[in-house]
Amino acid sequence: MVQLPHFLTVSALLFAAGVFAVVTRRNAVALLMGVELMLNAANLNFAAFSRFSHNSLDGQIFAMLSIVTAAAEVAVALAIVLNIYRNIETIDADQAGDLRG
């Protein structure tokens, strides 16, 4: 019988995949993909806890707000990435260090 820990396990593995992408990738768009995976893992946790604890909708509503925030985040991040590409002709996260003191 599939219970709460099964969903939490899937979520943990998704989160770890996102962390791996963020740690090992250097392409800015690939970093964003890792962040999206982590956000999905968190939303899955919200939905799972909402389902298995007293059937309240609070978790689902929190996940909805989180999805909206993720959409805003990815739009702004891609605008910044495109601007970086226009200015320094690369989106390697290690080379975009012009502001470093």
Binding site: V10, A12, A47, V76
Partner: protein, 171 residues
């Protein structure tokens, strides 16, 4: 094993395989398209969790919006002749250790904590209830997040537009 469990394992495998290809593939276009698999798997898991509205929102926003934006990002940030769209990977061993440590920690917490769960709740449609909650109890977060979305999208359009000389605005 009943149909629910089978569906869970299939959708979980779909999501995790998609995530793995996203993380490991060296070609960014493959990574973006396997992210589609991961998002759809998570949407199916939402449906299994009786969150039908959330599942549809996941498909519409993530697959229809965010993924298309990411693909545009992949396409627009490479030169035309750079057809392979490779992505370098740094520190795979250290990163793998960190990710494995986080996964082991989270999974052990998930299985060893005595969660205060309730069983056997009949699934029912949530759309009407979510709408009502957004209009009554959660009306302030709802309006606030709409404002965030509006401001962020205006900011993104402003940052992302190409600045042609003589376009004014003092920029």
């Amino acid at each position: 094993m009943n149909a629910y469990d089978l569906a869970f394992y299939l959708l979980a495998a779909m999501a995790l395989v998609g995530a793995a290809i996203t993380v490991l593939s060296r070609r960014l276009v493959y990574a973006a398209f396997s992210l589609l698999l991961a998002f759809l798997g998570v949407a199916g898991l939402y449906a299994l969790l009786a969150a039908d509205f959330l599942a549809i929102a996941q498909v519409v926003v993530y697959v229809g919006g965010i993924l298309v934006l990411l693909l545009f990002g992949v396409m627009l940030t490479h030169r035309i002749y750079d057809t392979t769209l490779k992505s370098v990977r740094v520190q795979p061993l250290l990163g793998g250790l960190v990710a494995a440590g986080i996964a082991i920690l989270l999974i052990s917490v998930a299985w060893n904590t005595p969660w205060n769960t309730t069983h056997e709740i009949a699934a029912e449609p949530t759309t009407a209830k979510i709408g009502e909650a957004f209009m009554k109890h959660y009306v302030f977060p709802f309006e606030f997040v709409s404002l965030i979305l509006l401001v962020a999208l205006i900011g993104a359009a402003l940052i992302g537009r190409s600045r042609t000389p003589g376009s004014g605005n003092g920029r």
